[in-house]
């Protein structure tokens, strides 16, 4: 059913109101909140939530409401700029025309290809922004390099969950059922309200992960759903009347999952018929789970055994949905967390049922101009993808390089040197998307030519860019919003251009315009990008989207604008109907055709085929020799309404809600260290230091502190060495490089040990050298004054 309002309307006062679905930039996930943008005399004067949008119903978050300030921010960059590479780190930018930018960048790209091979060009993508669906074609098809990188150590965001799902479940991303597929939402006769939604390492109200409109949980609570939070902190959501909390030690999620399964199995609460029909490896799985009694799991996780039993009994009911979060990914033990999470949904029969865990089909909707563009590369070039051979579990599911391996390559020039970097919407020094960001910083300075696409001057651009290509905001370009990037399409929305400030180009415009100029030809000799007709974005951009929507969905881009929001409906129990497998047979798209409680592929790749718990690698328990020095566990990464990771720090309205990053400390712990509310605190471990302001809360365990991620200070000096204060509060400096899971996924962003001490202010922090846990063990021992027990898990795959 199409929305009744026309998507573009002229108002009596001469202003124009354009309907749109919100994505980015600046950053956000593809939540597609419905909004009405009013423009007068070239200015965005009003943003109003669109009541016709059946998921957001007129509601908007403060990042969308603040768009007028974002669009017309005095610090925005709206013309292309260049800088002499010898002036990297200095504010010596020169405005250039787009013609100059095209000529300069294309000449460099062609030079690199001719002299060093296309693989010497590396494209970085960031997190969440729409660039997530364009940095692949930018690399594979526009620049024609096999090296596209998501730099976060262990690919620790979303990718691990998707890959584990591929191998264990053989489907697209599992999402909670919030009836988003249906125009009539919760009233749809096929939908059933979940009794419980388990938010596992995820607080969707603020994070809206990958297109899940977080406040749909509140909508469901009003109808009777209860929320179970598995989290190191008591959150406001968990503290709500009737909701349930499993407060755990950071990084021990796999143990909790195994303990929950243990209770379900020992109490005989599993859905045996479903297991017998649709699961592989039940006996082995059962035996493994029996090792993890609630009492044993309480020791590992600090969660009370009785509370584990209570939650397990709830999760054995139907329907129950599980919202699994970033904590699955940001953990070297995360492959096992993901495995046990899927297994819990499976053994309780909660997969693909109304109100349970919904599944996308195995191939992405509108995937043609993303991952499939890798086919533009000749096989011998594709074989040069960095880290692909070393980490097959990653490279089979993801089209990117291996991130940790990539940093090794940038530092050592082995097996070949990277000469050019292209940052497509990634400020990974700030960081969010990197561990050991100081090392990435130094590595960026070793290349010949770097391009950054962004809205603002970021620490990454100031440090490393030679050309800055400005992006239009979400209000200023045409595009699509697609939940889960097509891996589980709850809806598809049209993003419509309401105005354009300055001379900017969107991600898709950059792909097409550079693609046409570089005149690429794929292995079959045909040109890739010339097929999109027209010289102006108003022609080739709609044409680009129509080229995908028309064959797959039957409508063109202008029809999508008119519909406003396309909700496809949903087929429950697809596994019974042969809708999950390419051969049309019932079952799941896995090796065995079943949900693999015992993973045949993990086994083949040298990993334990069954889920298991591994104590966080750098904790007081795993390193008793350092336990006195670093007695606390640090977790990080929780989200706030006023920012998206490292973004939104330069807008006064949003900054009002968080002036500086805060470190959450239990009052008892703070008292022990002489720290009071509002004191500056330095948090430290063998790998790095950061300063944040103390906030004393009883909702965190006395043995844990929580730090904010993604902090830099746009108001400070942007030049080197300060770089907008990017090293002052940077908690990712406490996360070591290459401390990842056996299959190549997961790094300890949320679970490393630390010490805390009171300091005078934000300034004066001495940056710690980021020693490598394999290459610089002697230096680390000397720094810490003890013989550290190293595990050397990935030595075979390191470039020494």
């Amino acid at each position: 059913m199409a929305m009744s309002r026309e998507w573009r309307r002229e108002n009596p006062d001469g202003s124009v109101t354009v309907r749109s679905c919100c994505w980015s930039p600046p950053g956000d996930h593809p939540v597609g909140c419905g909004m009405l943008l009013t423009v007068k005399d070239g200015k965005l004067i009003d943003v109003e939530g669109d009541p016709e949008h059946s998921i957001t119903n007129g509601r908007l978050c403060i990042r969308a409401l603040d768009l007028p300030e974002v669009v017309h921010s005095p610090s925005r960059i709206v013309y292309p700029m260049k800088r002499d590479p010898k002036d990297r780190g200095k504010d010596k930018w020169e405005q250039i025309t787009w013609d100059e930018a095209f000529d300069l960048v294309c000449s460099k790209v062609n030079y690199m290809k001719e002299n060093y091979g296309a693989e010497s060009i590396l494209v970085f993508g960031g997190t969440g922004r729409e660039a997530c669906i364009y940095y692949y074609p930018l690399g594979f098809s526009t620049l024609q390099t096999p090296n596209v990188c998501y730099a976060q150590s262990g690919w620790s965001c979303y990718g691990p969950r998707c890959s584990i799902t591929d191998y264990i479940l053989g489907a697209g991303y599992p999402e909670i059922d919030f009836a988003g597929y249906f125009e009539d939402r919760f009233n749809n006769p096929e939908f059933e309200l979940p009794k419980y939604v388990v938010c596992w390492g995820k607080m969707p109200l603020a994070s809206n992960g990958d297109g899940l409109f977080g406040h749909a949980l509140i909508d469901m609570m009003k109808l009777g759903t209860k929320i179970i939070m598995i989290d190191p902190r008591i959150t406001w959501l968990g503290a709500m009347e009737g909701n349930i909390n499993l407060q755990i030690k950071p990084g021990t999620d796999a143990a909790i999952g195994l303990g929950l399964a243990n209770v379900i199995i020992t109490e005989g609460l599993q859905d045996q018929e479903w297991i017998d029909n649709w699961c592989f490896g039940w006996d082995e799985f059962k035996e493994r789970c029996l090792e993890y009694t609630p009492e044993k799991v309480e020791e590992m996780t600090w969660a009370p055994a009785e509370q584990i039993r209570k939650v397990a009994r709830m999760m054995a009911e139907k329907p129950v949905s599980i919202a699994w979060g970033l904590a699955v990914d940001q953990n070297p033990n995360g492959t096992q967390v993901g495995h046990i999470t899927i297994a819990l949904a499976a053994i309780t029969g909660n997969i693909d049922i109304p109100g349970g865990l919904t599944l996308g089909p195995p191939s992405s909707l509108l995937g043609k101009w993303r991952m499939e563009t890798r086919k533009d590369l000749a096989p011998e070039l594709w074989d040069k993808r960095l880290g692909a051979k070393e980490y097959p579990a990653l490279s089979n599911a993801m089209a990117t390089t291996h991130p940790d391996f990539t940093l090794d390559v940038l530092e050592t020039d082995q097996p070949y040197k990277i000469h050019m970097l292209w940052f497509n919407s990634s400020n990974l020094l700030a960081p969010t998307c990197s561990a050991a960001p100081i090392r990435w910083h130094d590595a960026f300075l070793r290349t010949d030519f770097n391009v950054v696409q962004d809205l603002f001057m970021t620490p990454t651009a100031m440090a490393a860019a030679d050309v800055f290509l400005p992006l239009p905001t979400v209000a200023e370009h045409d595009g699509i919003v697609i939940t889960h990037y097509g891996r589980n399409t709850v809806f598809l929305g049209a993003m419509n251009e309401a105005l354009r400030v300055g001379e900017t180009k969107s991600d898709v415009e950059i792909c097409i315009e550079f693609g046409k100029r570089l005149n690429n030809a794929g292995p079959d000799g045909t040109s890739t990008w010339n097929m999109f007709e027209g010289d102006h974005r108003s022609e080739f951009v709609p044409n680009f989207f129509t080229n995908q929507t028309k064959p797959e969905l039957g409508f063109d881009f202008d029809e999508l604008r008119a519909i406003g929001l396309y909700q496809p409906g949903y087929d429950y129990r697809k596994y019974e109907k042969g809708l999950l497998r390419f051969d049309g047979e019932p079952g799941f798209n896995t090796v065995t055709g079943l949900v693999e409680l015992y993973s045949t592929l993990f086994d083949a790749w040298g990993e334990d085929p069954l889920p298991y718990f591994e104590e966080p690698r750098w904790s007081p328990v795993s390193h008793p020799e350092l336990a006195d020095k670093y007695p606390l566990m640090m977790t990080s990464g929780s989200r706030e309404y006023c920012s998206f990771h490292s973004e939104h720090r330069m807008f006064p309205t949003l900054r009002h809600f968080r002036q500086v990053p805060d470190i959450e400390i239990h009052p008892d712990t703070a008292a022990k260290y002489g720290i009071e509310e509002g004191d500056w605190v330095e948090v430290e471990n063998p790998f790095g230091r950061a300063r944040q302001k103390a906030h004393l809360v009883i909702t965190i365990d006395p043995r844990v502190v929580h730090c904010r991620h993604g902090w830099w200070y746009p108001e400070q000096d942007g030049e080197e060495p300060n770089l907008f204060g990017v090293w002052k509060s940077n908690v990712n400096n406490l996360v070591p490089h290459f401390e990842i899971g056996r299959l190549g996924f997961g790094a300890p962003f949320k679970s490393v040990f630390c010490s805390i001490k009171k300091v005078d202010d934000l300034h004066g922090l001495e940056v710690k050298k980021s020693y490598d846990i394999i290459k610089e063990q002697a230096e680390l021992n000397e720094q810490e004054g003890v013989e550290i027990q190293f595990t050397n898990l990935h030595t075979d795959h390191r470039i020494i």
Partner: protein
């Protein structure tokens, strides 16, 4: 004026402290007053917090932690929006959809239906 018997109802057990009412109100006041509004100095509505209080030792599920949006002296009742047939901007945009506005008798009736953890402001 036409809306003098109107009141703002807040089902505050659902207020998630998303700040949407505060920023939506700021936008509205800037448009109607034609000047910059500083959220730290002249907000039209602010979200107040109490808690978190842990109510029972050893019970991980016994908490009291609430947010209550509170209209200030700057609240103009969104008269121009009401005239245009719209809801007040805080009510319209509230992410938790926990606010309502209307004749005070209707709001009192609704509060009784909601039952608990609900309040009514007569700004």
């Amino acid at each position: 004026m036409a809306y003098e018997d109107y009141a703002l109802l807040i089902d505050y057990k659902y207020c998630s402290n998303c700040h949407t009412c505060e920023v939506a109100c700021k936008n509205h006041l800037q448009l109607t007053l034609g000047k910059e509004i500083d959220l730290a100095k002249t907000p039209g509505i602010v979200v107040l917090e109490y808690g978190p209080f842990h109510l029972e030792e050893g019970n991980p599920d016994a908490w009291d932690w609430k947010y209550i949006p509170t209209p200030t002296a700057m609240c103009d009742l969104c008269v121009d929006r009401l005239d245009a047939g719209k809801k007040p901007t805080c009510v319209h945009h509230c992410l938790a959809n926990c606010m309502d506005y209307g004749p005070i008798e209707d709001m009192a009736k609704k509060a009784l239906e909601i039952g608990h953890k609900v309040c009514i402001f007569k700004p």
